[in-house]
C-alpha cells in the first residue's frame, strides 16, 4: 500500500473538549490514515471518545491540536459545502423530521449539490434512486420516517449519506438500538457498499465479532493509551484483541 491511496489522514490530532481555561483531552497524537475503499471499524469502551473522534473528523467540532487532511488538503480550508461533498455522516442524533418520507430524507443528501432553491435535477434523482436501491429500501421509499422500524431508519440514513456522494462516510454506532439480525444486515450492507462503490467508511461500533470479520482495518481506542491500528488478523495474532476484549475468549 503506498501513500497515494490515502484519501484521509490526521497529523498529531488531539480531540476533546475545551472549557474556559482547562482542556479535557480524550485522545492525542492521533496519526490515522484511511485508504480508498477501506472499511475501518473503530472499537473501544463507552466514554473513550469514539463519538468525539467521529465528530472531530467530520469537522462538527474543533480539534484541540493537530490537523486533518482530506485528499492532502487541510479540511479547515474547505468551505462547509465543499467538505459536505466529500464526507457523508450517519450520527446517533434522533431524527424527528416528521412528515418526511424516506425518499425525502434520502434527497436531503443532495443538499450540498443543489443551488439555493434546493431544486433536484435529473442527476440528483439518479443518485437518490441509486442510494435507495443500494440500501435495499425501495419498498419503503414512500413511507413516512416515523412509520418505519429502527433498522429501516438506519438504512435510510445510510442511503442519505450515500446520496451525498462523498468519498468518505463516517458512521457513529450505526447498529446501536438494533436487534442482532438488523445489526448483521446493516454491517453487511456497509461492507457491500465499500466493495461496490469504492468509498471509504469509518464506523464506530461495539460489535467486535462483526468488526473482526468485515473490517479491512481496526482502530482500537483505549482510555489513556494510543489508538492501536492494524488489520484484524494481525491484531488477533498479536493478542491485542484478546487483551482488550477478554470476554470474547470466554464466550467462544
Amino acid at each position: 500500500m503506498d501513500k497515494a491511496d490515502t484519501i484521509f489522514h490526521t497529523e498529531d490530532l488531539a480531540i476533546g473538549y475545551k472549557k474556559a481555561k482547562s482542556k479535557n483531552i480524550l485522545m492525542d497524537n492521533l496519526n490515522l490514515s484511511v485508504k480508498k475503499g477501506q472499511m475501518i471499524c473503530l472499537l473501544g469502551a463507552n466514554g473513550v471518545g469514539k463519538s468525539t473522534l467521529i465528530r472531530t473528523l467530520a469537522n462538527l467540532q474543533p480539534a484541540l491540536a493537530g490537523d486533518i487532511f482530506l485528499n492532502g488538503i487541510n479540511i479547515s480550508t474547505y468551505t462547509p459545502k465543499e467538505l459536505a461533498k466529500h464526507i457523508g455522516l450517519v450520527l446517533t442524533d434522533p431524527i424527528q423530521g416528521g412528515n418526511l418520507s424516506v425518499r425525502e430524507l434520502v434527497q436531503m443528501g443532495r443538499y450540498p449539490h443543489t443551488d439555493w432553491s434546493g431544486k433536484l435535477h435529473a442527476k440528483d434523482h439518479e443518485k437518490v434512486d441509486l442510494a435507495i436501491r443500494q440500501c435495499g429500501i425501495q419498498y419503503i421509499s414512500g413511507a413516512n420516517i416515523f412509520e418505519i422500524s429502527d433498522g429501516q431508519l438506519q438504512k435510510a440514513l445510510i442511503a442519505r449519506a450515500l446520496a451525498q456522494d462523498g468519498d468518505l462516510m463516517l458512521l457513529d454506532e450505526p447498529t446501536v438500538h438494533l436487534d442482532a439480525n438488523n445489526r448483521f444486515t446493516v454491517m453487511r450492507l456497509l461492507k457491500d457498499l465499500v466493495n461496490e462503490t469504492g468509498k471509504s467508511i469509518i464506523i464506530s461500533t461495539h460489535q467486535v465479532e462483526m468488526a473482526l470479520e468485515l473490517a479491512d482495518e481496526l482502530w482500537l481506542a483505549n482510555c489513556g493509551e494510543r489508538i492501536i491500528t492494524g488489520k484484524p488478523q494481525e491484531l488477533v495474532e498479536k493478542k491485542v484483541i484478546s487483551k482488550m476484549f477478554p470476554y470474547l475468549t470466554t464466550l467462544s
Partner: protein
C-alpha cells in the same frame, strides 16, 4: 411539488381574495363589491363617504391584516424549525416583550403625545424595544451553539422585560395604564397609508430574507449536526432567521400590538393541511394561511351588527385555540409533525 399542493395553494389564494373583498364590504356600513370596484377603478377622485371608508379605513385595515397575519405565521414557522420545538413562535425570543417594553416606557412614563405623533412615536418605541432584544439575542446566538439554550434565553428576556413593564404599570396613572392596555389588545386598524409605507417594505424584507432560508430550514429538520454535515453554516442561517423573524414580528407588534397565538398556530395548521415538512411548500402555506386567519379574525372583531370593535387579540385566541386543540387531538402526535 405534486399538483395537489399547487391546487390547495391556488385555492387558498382565491379564498384570500374573496375574504379581502368581503372584509372591505362588511362592517358597520355594508358596501357592495360592485361599489368597491367602482371606487377603486373609476378615475373620478371621489370624496364621498363610501370612498373615505374604503380607501382610508377598510382597505388599509384589510391589507394590514393580510400582511400581519402572513408575517406572524411565517415567523412562527421559522422559529419552530430553528428551535425544533412546537411551542416556539415569534414571541418566544422576547421580541414582543421588547416591543411592549418600548411602548410601556413611552405610554406609562406619562409623556403626553397626542394626535398624529402618537401612533408614530408608539411604533418607533416598540421597534426600538424589539430591536434591542433582537440585538441581545443575536449576540447570544453567535456564542451559543445550542438552540434550546437560545430558546430559554429568549424566554428569560421575555420574562425580564415583562417584569419591567409590570413595575412601570404599578407606578403609572390609571389613564396611562388604560392607553397601554388598548395597545396590548391589538388592532390592525391603526395604520394609515403613510404608515403602510414603512410597514409593508419591512414585512416584505423579512419575508425575502426568510424565504431564502427555505433550503437550510429543510436541512435543519434533521438537527443541527446533520445540517452542518450537509454543508450548512449554522451561525449564518441562525442569524438570518433571527433577523427575518425579528423584522416580521417586530414591525407587526409595533403597528398592530402583540397579536397572540397566530405565529404558534399557523405553522401547525399548515403542516396538517399539506402533510409536508418541506419548507418550499410550508412557506407559501403559512403566508396564505396566516393572512386568511388574521383577516377572518379581523372580520369577526368588527362583526356587522355590533357597534363596537372587539380586541383582535381576544378573537385570535378565542376562535383559534379550540381549532388548534382539535387539530392536534386529531393528528394525535404533534412533536413528530416538525423537526
Amino acid at each position: 411539488m405534486p399538483a395537489k399542493i399547487y391546487r390547495i395553494l391556488t385555492g387558498l389564494g382565491l379564498l384570500l381574495i374573496i375574504l379581502l373583498i368581503l372584509s372591505v364590504s362588511l362592517g358597520s356600513v355594508y358596501i357592495s363589491p360592485l361599489e368597491i370596484f367602482q371606487v377603486l377603478f373609476s378615475d373620478v377622485h371621489n370624496e364621498s363617504a363610501i370612498y373615505n371608508i374604503i380607501i382610508h379605513y377598510r382597505f388599509p385595515k384589510a391589507i394590514t391584516s393580510i400582511f400581519a397575519g402572513a408575517a406572524l405565521g411565517f415567523a412562527g414557522l421559522q422559529m419552530q424549525t430553528l428551535f425544533r420545538n412546537p411551542l416556539a413562535g415569534p414571541f418566544v425570543l422576547g421580541i414582543s416583550s421588547g416591543a411592549s417594553l418600548g411602548v410601556a416606557l413611552l405610554v406609562l412614563s406619562g409623556i403626553g403625545v397626542t394626535g398624529i405623533l402618537a401612533s408614530w412615536s408608539m411604533a418607533i418605541a416598540s421597534i426600538v424595544g424589539s430591536s434591542i432584544v433582537l440585538l441581545l439575542v443575536v449576540l447570544v446566538s453567535i456564542n451559543i451553539r445550542d438552540s434550546m439554550s437560545l430558546l430559554l434565553i429568549g424566554l428569560m428576556f421575555g420574562a425580564f422585560t415583562s417584569a419591567i413593564v409590570s413595575v412601570l404599570q404599578y407606578f403609572s396613572s390609571a389613564d396611562d395604564i388604560q392607553n397601554f392596555l388598548f395597545w396590548t389588545f391589538g388592532s390592525t386598524g391603526n395604520l394609515n397609508w403613510e404608515e403602510m409605507q414603512v410597514f409593508i417594505p419591512v414585512v416584505l424584507t423579512g419575508m425575502i430574507i426568510g424565504y431564502l432560508q427555505a433550503k437550510p430550514l429543510n436541512a435543519l429538520l434533521l438537527g443541527e449536526n446533520y445540517a452542518q454535515s450537509m454543508g450548512l453554516t449554522i451561525k449564518k442561517v441562525r442569524i438570518a432567521l433571527v433577523i427575518s423573524t425579528s423584522l416580521l414580528a417586530g414591525v407587526v407588534t409595533a403597528f398592530c400590538g402583540p397579536i397572540a397565538f397566530l405565529g404558534l398556530a399557523v405553522p401547525h395548521i399548515s403542516r396538517i393541511i399539506f402533510k409536508s415538512a418541506n419548507h418550499h411548500i410550508l412557506v407559501p402555506a403559512t403566508l396564505l394561511l396566516g393572512a386568511i386567519l388574521l383577516l377572518v379574525c379581523d372580520m369577526i372583531a368588527q362583526m356587522p351588527g355590533l357597534n363596537l370593535i372587539l380586541p383582535i387579540n381576544a378573537i385570535t385566541s378565542l376562535f383559534g385555540a379550540p381549532v388548534v386543540i382539535w387539530l392536534i387531538v386529531r393528528s394525535k402526535n404533534m412533536s413528530r409533525n416538525f423537526g
